[in-house]
Subunit: 215 residues, 2 copies
DNA sequence: ACCTGAACACCGTTCAAGT
DNA sequence: ACCTGAACACCGTTCAAGT
């Protein structure tokens, strides 16, 4: 069975998940696939292109709720929740999504569906751009922070906030620590979504009638 | 003049800003400082520790508004704005803050001041934790996204969203592109802050009286 | 078309040695 | 205490060669 772009990208993702982002090298990946490092260059012009393929692999894991399955607001919220869920399944790989640029066709296709949801909510392009960034940046930042708290990252020092908060000299940080443990992060994330989606519902032109009726 | 931790960290930050994160190597940094790579190990046990020092250098740049200078809400908003401002001054270095873990004394000191602001707004530890993460993750995600849009990152492909949006096959992405150009990013960020701080003001126990009076 | 193997110009870090 | 220099086990990538 010869190598394929998809097969290589999947193997790269597995290697990153198991051994960390820094452990991915063309030589090690080649060894995993039973091939010399240089064989990979026949499928990807550079390591950067391989990383782009890994990013697309991650995006593909985020299932987009069908348009007729739920209301626009619920669709968007489900998507954001799944995006963070993907982050938690791939802690070391998720950094790629935040650190590298989205510039591929599949990334644009992903954006298109999200922007369609904002259009369904009645927003024009300008408002869609702003809400898209607000919610998207929150999702991206949450993914990064929650991943960092779960310490699967390479050269990880023990997380003091998690393991010995009583050792921390700052009283407010110490008091907050129990509410930012790994077990609490889901609730913290949902709280953020509650705030953002309440504001979004309030602002969405398409929900104007609904709001009046419910008052 | 012998080397110092601070001097090395500043030189490392300058090197990252000028040539990108991947260009920072112990050998190149040593060369800049007129010293062999191994001399640096006398001041930092590993490259990771050096990167932690660079992160602290970045944090030190974010000036914290004095407690008596403005109202708690304005203080917090000013701080978040300055945090993103720092990101825009150090595009390639900012990735460190999002990708690496905050686990140093100075990072905790930074958190402590922010948590004090939430306490000033009347929040208990649990609520402070949630608002801290909501606003912090938005700030962090915004910094990353805005930095990526300004394309100072290494191995940068030209940003299609910025340079030839008319080439993009997806109509909604194309329509949104003009509202996400570099010139628009400040306004997009401010929009996010408007939404978040309106909700925060609404929720803050310490502002309850003020709200009643203004109605 | 697909893969190998040697080579080039790099890495972080160890270790023993210099002053 | 502070720095050097050689060495080790790695990198990404080029290039010529094999099938």
């Amino acid at each position: 069975m010869p190598l394929s772009r998809q097969g290589i990208a999947l193997a790269a993702l597995a290697l990153i998940d198991e051994e960390g982002l820094e452990s991915l090298s063309m030589r090690r990946l080649g060894a995993r696939l039973g091939v010399e490092a240089m064989a990979l260059y026949h499928h990807f012009p550079s390591k950067g292109d391989l990383l782009d393929a890994v990013m697309e692999q991650l995006l593909d894991e985020v299932e987009i709720p069908a348009r007729d399955a739920m209301a626009p607001l619920d669709r968007l919220r489900a998507l954001v929740t799944r995006y963070r869920g993907m982050a938690l399944r791939h802690p070391p790989a998720f950094i790629l999504l935040a650190a590298r640029r989205f510039n591929t066709e599949r990334a644009f296709a992903f954006y298109e569906v999200i922007l369609e949801m904002f259009a369904d909510l009645g927003f024009d392009a300008k408002q869609a751009a702003r809400w898209f960034r607000l919610i998207g940046n929150f999702a991206s930042g949450s993914g990064m922070a929650d991943v960092a708290s779960r310490e699967r990252i390479a050269d990880a020092t023990p997380l003091r906030l998690e393991h010995d908060p009583e050792q921390i000299a700052f009283p407010r940080v110490r008091a907050v620590a129990p509410h930012l443990t790994v077990q609490s992060l889901d609730a913290v994330f949902e709280f953020g979504l509650d705030v953002l989606f309440a504001a979004l519902a309030e602002a969405a032109p398409a929900l104007k009638g609904l709001r009046r009726r419910s008052r």
